[in-house]
């Protein structure tokens, strides 16, 4: 199937002056009204730059301005904002190609942010814009084309026979919009697309493509979380295409290009020397974590009931290393020598509409291998890869899907679901073909597939209403916070990680804080105050990556050989120093460690205030389901009885001898709930929030986020008006 630009009906065109990035910024953004198919440039003010920095900060600011407290995910005024950040696009420092995508989420109703690789963001930036806003709803299926070299924006009506699944659509559009079939011209095109699944489920994602010269085909990276792909398809956007040729070492307009080279080369060398001895990202990607998590009882198994299984080694890192193609520079942006974006090539599909096709599977990432693997008791790598592929091409988030199917399989085990209720799909643990069938039915819009695609919050309430399931049990095992499914680590034995997941702005995603080893394994943060400090520092620090257009992985998935000798090795101080220097080399602005945290703190508190503006952001929403905190079921307790009994004796001060398992579960639960309560108190206090989780006006003033519209929101919440 091949198309040229001529095959698409041009419906509007506007021209602009191509940009030149100066010190990491264009100082303008692009607003696209999808309804009227109009493009408008917006200037970036100095205040916006100072308060919001870029990336996620710009995204949230534009989304706040473009929406109202009454805006819902499918309101025309809801936006998708893709924003890059000042460091994004430099080719020297590994992990510098990230785009941050924000929108009001169909899963949570509040702002979601998702961090994604691929070439689109950097190309958009070099085309002249620090962010792209998409607002409105198109009257018909639409493709937006931005030609960054020519300075042209075109809206096209898409032919009805275009494929909608990403692996086909992005390939077709890459060739259609490339200046020629020369590999460098093909590499100059990046496509953003979703898939048919995103049309029927709130967990739809966006795929950002990168053309791989070696494979002579497209690869995709995902803005996975929170259903932004669903918003995209609701706007009748079929694809965004950006074309930019001419990326160079100084495309980002750094204040000191030689310093950017020096800092980048230092990390390149560190990765080349240390990676093979440390995380093996260059060979295994994030899948290197599989056996580590299984060994420490942290690998989600059967809907997070357990953290370990003797079958764990069947999907360990060495298994993936053999399946993933080796000796290729699989970075998702130029110059990332960490190169974790691996793929399984020539993979033959066994199910669905592409059965028999040989495809390139992007991944699996750790989250996918855990979420749709061990969590579903699937230990067949082929099954995991097949689900991985179809999730991507249909535009479905593997994390939400994995956590949802885990929930469904547990419901099946308990007889809440039967073949009559699943349209004949067998959801026994380990049945990967059943999981795939859900995906295919979802893509086709069939009943049970669509129902399953609603996610665990909806399903857990639905099963109570429709099938008389026990409400407490449903609440306990539906792993979500604020409507977003939890990502794939067992948090039961780490109070700090429960906070890391659920004391978050967007819902339980591990990108804010991953404290399990610090807390549970190494016991470095024993007191509530220690945990609260960690739950202040790490979310703030990690937010900074999203402001800059950076990837988190090169921060601590490779470390300097002498990292352990430093006072706080968990912070990887030398790499923090790299980031500060890199920021200064690009923007020309000095930045100390505290200043870095304050940049994040402003945006973090702004996001919290945004939740509050939407009528949300109360304390009650920051609590985990009990499966994330402790053993729900008797066999779950008994499987780790020695651990729980010991804790009861030593920590709770109750002798478990002679108590029934039911009694012991109740006592453990009461204790853990109280512990979590105390944690929330300590964390809110450290973050400068009220006991209901609202930033205080004094704190906002202290950090410089006392914009009138933000103060108005928090004052109204404190006064009980919203």
């Amino acid at each position: 199937m091949s198309y040229g630009i001529k095959d698409f009906k041009l419906v509007s065109e506007s021209r602009y002056t191509p940009g030149k990035v100066v010190r990491g910024y264009n100082m303008r953004t692009l607003h696209l009204d999808v309804s009227s198919r109009k493009a408008t440039e917006k200037p970036v003010s100095e205040t916006m730059k100072q308060k919001f920095v870029g990336g996620k900060g710009f995204g949230l600011k534009l989304l706040w301005d473009g929406t109202k407290p009454s805006t819902r995910w499918d309101s025309p005024e809801n936006e998708i904002v893709i924003a890059m950040g000042p460091i994004c696009g430099n080719t020297n420092y590994p992990g510098s190609g990230k785009s941050l995508v924000v929108s009001l989420s169909p899963m949570t109703g509040i702002p979601i942010d998702s961090n994604v690789g691929g070439y689109f963001g950097p190309y958009l930036k070099f085309s002249g814009f620090d962010a792209l806003e998409l607002q409105g709803k198109a009257p018909s299926e639409t493709i937006v084309f931005i030609d960054g070299n020519e300075g042209v924006i075109r809206f096209y009506e898409a032919p009805t026979d275009l494929p909608r699944d990403t692996h086909l659509l992005a390939e077709v559009l890459t060739h259609a919009f490339a200046a020629s079939d020369d590999p460098s011209d093909l590499q100059a095109v990046s496509v953003v697309s979703a898939g048919r699944g995103a049309e029927h489920s709130p967990m739809g994602l966006l795929n950002f493509s990168l053309y791989d010269k070696r494979r002579a085909g497209i690869r995709v990276k995902q803005a996975g979380r929170g259903g932004i792909g669903t918003v995209f398809r609701d706007k009748k956007l079929l694809a965004l295409v950006c074309r930019y040729r001419g990326v160079e070492q100084d495309s980002n307009g750094a204040a000191d290009p030689a310093a950017v080279q020096r800092i980048g080369l230092k990390l390149h060398r560190e990765i080349v020397v240390n990676d093979d001895k440390q995380c093996k990202m260059r060979k295994q990607g994030t899948a290197h974590l599989m056996e580590v998590m299984n060994d420490y009882d942290l690998l989600p198994t059967k809907n997070h009931k357990y953290g370990q299984d003797p079958r764990g080694p069947e999907i360990a890192s060495w298994v993936w290393e053999k399946l993933l193609s080796q000796n290729l520079p699989d970075g998702c942006w130029f110059g990332c020598t960490m190169a974790c974006a691996h793929a399984v090539d020539k993979f033959e599909l066994e199910t669905g509409p592409y059965k028999g096709h040989k495809v390139c599977v992007d991944g699996p990432e750790y989250e996918t291998a855990a979420g749709v693997g061990s969590n579903l008791y699937i230990y067949d790598p082929h099954g995991i890869l097949e689900i991985n592929f179809y999730c991507d091409t249909y535009g479905i988030d593997t994390i939400s899907f994995g956590t949802t199917v885990g929930f469904l399989m547990e419901c099946w085990e308990h007889g809440i679901l039967t073949k009559e209720r699943t349209d004949g799909i067998d959801l026994s643990w380990g049945n990967w073909k059943g999981a795939c069938q859900i995906l295919h039915d979802l893509a086709e819009g069939k009943r049970f597939g669509v129902l399953a695609g609603r996610g665990v919050k909806f399903l857990s309430e639905h099963f109570v209403k429709e099938y008389g399931a026990d409400p407490q049990f449903m609440r306990d095992i539906a792993l979500h916070g604020k409507g977003l499914e939890q990502s794939e680590y067992i948090s039961k034995e780490s109070l700090a990680q429960q906070g890391g997941y659920y004391l978050t702005n967007k819902g339980p995603q591990h990108d804010e804080a991953w404290l399990i080893f610090m807390d549970m394994v190494n016991n470095r943060i024993p007191t509530f105050e220690n945990k609260a400090e960690a739950l202040h520092y790490f979310p703030m620090f990690r937010t900074w990556f999203g402001l800059q257009g950076l990837c988190k992985l090169p921060w601590n998935d490779v470390e300097p050989a002498d990292n352990a000798k430093w006072k706080e090795p968990n912070k990887v101080p030398e790499h923090v120093a790299n980031y500060r220097e890199l920021y200064t080399a690009i923007t020309g602005e000095p930045l100390d460690w505290d200043g870095l945290i304050v940049q994040s703190e402003r945006v973090y508190n702004f996001q919290r205030a945004f939740n509050i503006r939407q009528g949300r952001g109360h304390r009650a929403e920051d609590y985990p389901p009990y499966r994330a905190m402790g053993p729900v079921l008797e066999d779950e307790y008994e499987a780790r009885a020695e651990r729980y009994d010991k804790q009861m004796k030593e920590k709770i001060g109750v002798d478990p001898a002679g108590l029934s398992v039911k009694e012991k579960i109740r006592i453990t639960r009461e204790y853990r709930m109280k512990q979590y309560d105390s944690l929330v108190d300590a964390v809110y206090k450290r973050r400068g929030w009220t006991p209901d989780g609202c930033p205080t006006p004094e704190h906002l003033k202290a950090i410089g986020m006392d914009l009138p519209e933000v103060l108005e929101v928090v004052e109204a919440r404190i006064a009980g008006k919203i």
């Binding site: 080796q326 290729l328 110059g335 020539k346």
Partner: protein, 149 residues
């Protein structure tokens, strides 16, 4: 066959003729930091010459945009029109033969042109040829495995 610059450390006297020839030819200035060949002073009148052996081709395998390729004569070349200046090639080079100069957009390396060999007064340099080896083909084998037939 691979064309490459063969070095004989024992003959080198550290006169720096080679670096001058190279940097003048490609950068129009006499600057050892801009020469594709490096003369390392080991002390006691001994020197070590560092230059690309054209054989390991780790840079060819690493380049994210395939700006580094193998020419017909077997030498490894950088296409400046395609290069994005990331310096990954500099990091993976096992001998330090892939070079960069602070602030210049592109890395640079020896392309076995032989001009330095012609002017070396001690015969420490000569253009030579060698057979391809499994290592020299590794970058191409990795691509062949993932390409559709």
């Amino acid at each position: 066959m691979i064309k490459y610059l063969k070095t004989v450390d024992e003959k080198c006297v550290g006169c720096m003729t080679c670096t001058a020839v190279c940097s003048k030819l490609y950068f129009k200035e006499d600057n050892p930091a801009k020469a594709a060949i490096q003369v390392q002073d080991l002390g006691a009148g001994k020197f070590h010459l560092v230059v690309c052996d054209q054989e390991c081709r780790k840079c060819v395998a690493e380049c994210p945009v395939q700006a580094i390729s193998v020419a017909k004569n077997g030498a490894v070349m950088i296409d400046k029109k395609v290069c994005v200046g990331c310096l990954a090639c500099v990091a993976v080079c096992p001998t330090g033969a892939m070079r960069y100069y602070p602030g210049l957009k592109h890395p640079f390396k020896c392309i076995a042109c032989g001009q330095c060999a012609k002017q070396c007064p001690k015969g420490a340099l000569e253009l030579a040829e060698k057979e391809e080896s499994p290592a020299s083909r590794a970058w191409a084998d990795a691509i062949a495995k993932v390409r559709e037939e």
